[in-house]
Symmetry: C2
Subunit: 419 residues, 2 copies
């Protein structure tokens, strides 16, 4: 292997090739059992079949009076039909007797229909008087009765493996009596941030030292993508320390930030090649061209550039989709999208993929002037990013582009743009 | 106040009026200090101004050699200009001396520019040989140098109050040395689920008892909306117990599920009216018409119907936006939206707002046949919901409707529909 340190990359791989490689090499993680109430947003690893009927009994769909429907035929407000009230059926507290002809019980929504009744006269058409109820409309048999299994039948396949559990899915699992559910394990992610110049988040920058922001940004992105960040501390630029962390089998994904390019202190690419494979190093994209990607015993290692914008973009292109796919989620970018015209020309080069931060002004995308991959604040000012694919020289002023929005829901600020 | 128990609602309020009432009455919660790494997704309660320059020193933007740019003028690959290498400048480990004419130091990206240098010749145009480096292109002064404050200047307002913090925002706060940040407090939400028929989630349904799924669904929705669910257990249908929990001042929002309609065991509306105000009870919508809304000492109390679909819809229309707004987020529904034609006619009534679950089939919205508000599984089968506003009689077959998608990101299943 050619040592790229202080020489630069001889050739650069295309983004599409790297993405195809990652899609090909990613395997779904194993299954784990998750307590029901921790299931929100997790990915099902089993097909779920109901072992019960829901409801398991015929129930009232209304507040009213349980009757034999046929006995109400002909009732009107002029000639109501009377039933003698012999009790009450409440949810969880059924009426235990059997109704005889001309009898009724008060019944509440969700209560079991008593024997001898087959319909519920809703309260609005009834009038209670002296222990009797006057029903002023005909009530057809089965009216306002929820049958056994009307929601879910025993044996129904209610959810399929691969499903990302919504709140109502977890509710449904509760209703069929599940206490646990088999989900795809969440990817364990090690953040490996090196740099003798770095102070941990929470410190004040001082002298020639700056505060590590990449691990902070990555922590937020990994959480968004369903990964679990392992305990973290900044690692000195000492090859033995970096090697030991890279060789640790605990994580599914290692995100290395800093020391990944072609500088003389950039040990990570060589160490990765020694411990496993450095499948790609140097990509035809801007920013993030020094990105490297490799594997050690089936674990993915992403060498993310130290510059914060490059780190963010390389994560979004390569690491994020891989983490999502390992956990059973879609590789697709999670961002909301907005199509708007460009406020001014956006230049790129054929053969290179660009990740361009843009602001939204008066419904148009304004490419941010700061070219620097070191300018984290540009991603804070930006509304999102526009990707210029490899085959394009860029976009003309006024051309429609798709913004990948940084905010994951409509904000108080951009509701107008979203409408 | 008229007792609606076993009588039904005399009149029903319009959804728009209730929403206007909620928007008018909601106040932003107070501020709390949040450790930086817990700030993701939280809403800023302060304008953040940087107390430092980032970087605080001029730094190299490239791996290469720090030189006085003017000394390289005229260099070419045929006639490279030589500099004597007198040391190395690394990130966090500056070169402490001063460069004299004809001298250079190796410099890595992020390292401080030494005194006497004003530019960096990138490694690719340099060749190192015998303690010297040959520079083969002119390098203009300031080339590849990041100036003090190039990312953030001391005194810059970097983030404004009201901002929902993205990963890169938290990274930026780290880079300016913040360890904590002032955020809007997260709404505390009490789930008050009553029903003697209910078993807690994790139980098997049996006999006339069903498993409480509403608290499970609500728990997921509240988390999505930035609320914190207080410790929870199912409450028996005993007015004194319900009253004590309603009167508890700890929550900002109380979500009552069950016992909220006009049945004889429906105590919640009366208790709410006694303890505070029952501002609305009975809404012109389907499902969820028995929804009630009130306040006790400034806390919002939502009486959500016990039927699971009604509970979900009433939460989405009224409680969710209120919880988001209390926490400083947008009232707007958080759902991704998709415009597609209707597969068949969708009937509604002028004057009533409908929440219709729809499936997505072959790029068309199919209203689900199950009318029942008791059918939780319909929200599991559905791709999302279509809202038919008050002023419409419905939508015709083929008409474009907007689906509020239940999945909050592109799934493995619906990528085709999303493209």
């Amino acid at each position: 292997m050619r040592d790229v340190r202080m020489r630069g990359f001889a050739e650069r791989a295309d983004v599409e090739d790297v993405l195809a490689f990652l899609a090909r090499e990613t395997r779904l993680l194993a299954t784990e059992t998750v307590p029901l109430l921790e299931g929100f947003g997790r990915v099902l690893a089993e097909d779920v079949t109901s072992a019960v009927d829901v409801p398991g009994f015929a129930r009232s769909a209304m507040d009213g009076y349980a009757i034999e429907g046929a006995a109400s035929f002909g009732a009107s407000s002029y000639e109501p039909i009377r039933f003698a009230i012999v009790g009450t059926a409440l949810p969880g507290r059924p009426f235990s007797g059997r109704l005889e002809a001309g009898q009724t019980v008060r019944i509440m929504t969700g209560a079991p229909i008593p024997d001898g009744a087959d319909a519920v006269a809703k309260a609005e058409i009834c009038e209670e008087r002296d222990g009797r109820v006057l029903v002023s409309e005909s009530v057809a048999p089965k009216k306002n009765v929820g049958v056994i299994g009307e929601d879910i039948r025993l044996g129904d396949r209610v959810l399929a493996a691969g499903r990302r559990l919504r709140p109502q899915d977890v509710g449904l699992l509760a209703s069929i009596g599940r206490a646990e559910v088999a989900c795809v394990r969440q990817p364990r992610v090690r953040l490996l941030v090196t740099g003798d110049e770095l102070l941990p988040a929470g410190s004040r920058p001082s002298g020639a030292r700056i505060v590590d922001s990449n691990s902070v940004v990555l922590r937020g992105l990994v959480a968004r993508d369903g990964g679990r960040v392992l305990p973290f501390e900044i690692v000195p630029d000492v090859p033995e320390r970096i090697r030991a962390l890279m060789a640790d089998p605990e994580p599914d994904v290692v995100l290395v930030s800093g020391g990944t390019s072609v500088g003389q202190e950039d040990h990570a690419p060589r160490l990765l090649a020694e411990l496993g494979s450095l499948d790609y190093h140097g990509l035809s994209m801007r920013p993030s061209s020094p990105t490297g990607i490799g594997r050690i015993d089936g674990r993915f290692v992403f060498l993310l550039p130290g510059n914060p914008v490059s780190c963010l973009a390389a994560y979004e292109f390569f690491a994020g989709p891989t983490i999502r796919a390992l956990g059973g989620r879609s590789r697709a970018w999670t961002h909301r999208r907005l199509r708007v015209p460009l406020a001014r020309k956006l230049a790129s080069e054929v053969g290179r993929t660009d990740y361009v931060r843009v602001a939204l002004e008066a419904g148009r995308a304004v490419p941010l002037a700061t070219a620097g991959a070191s300018i984290l604040s540009s991603t804070v000012r930006a509304a999102g990013a526009v990707i210029v694919p490899r085959e394009r020289e860029g976009y003309a002023e006024g051309e429609l582009v798709e913004i990948l929005l940084y905010d994951d829901e409509p904000g108080n600020a951009d509701e107008v743009a979203e409408s």
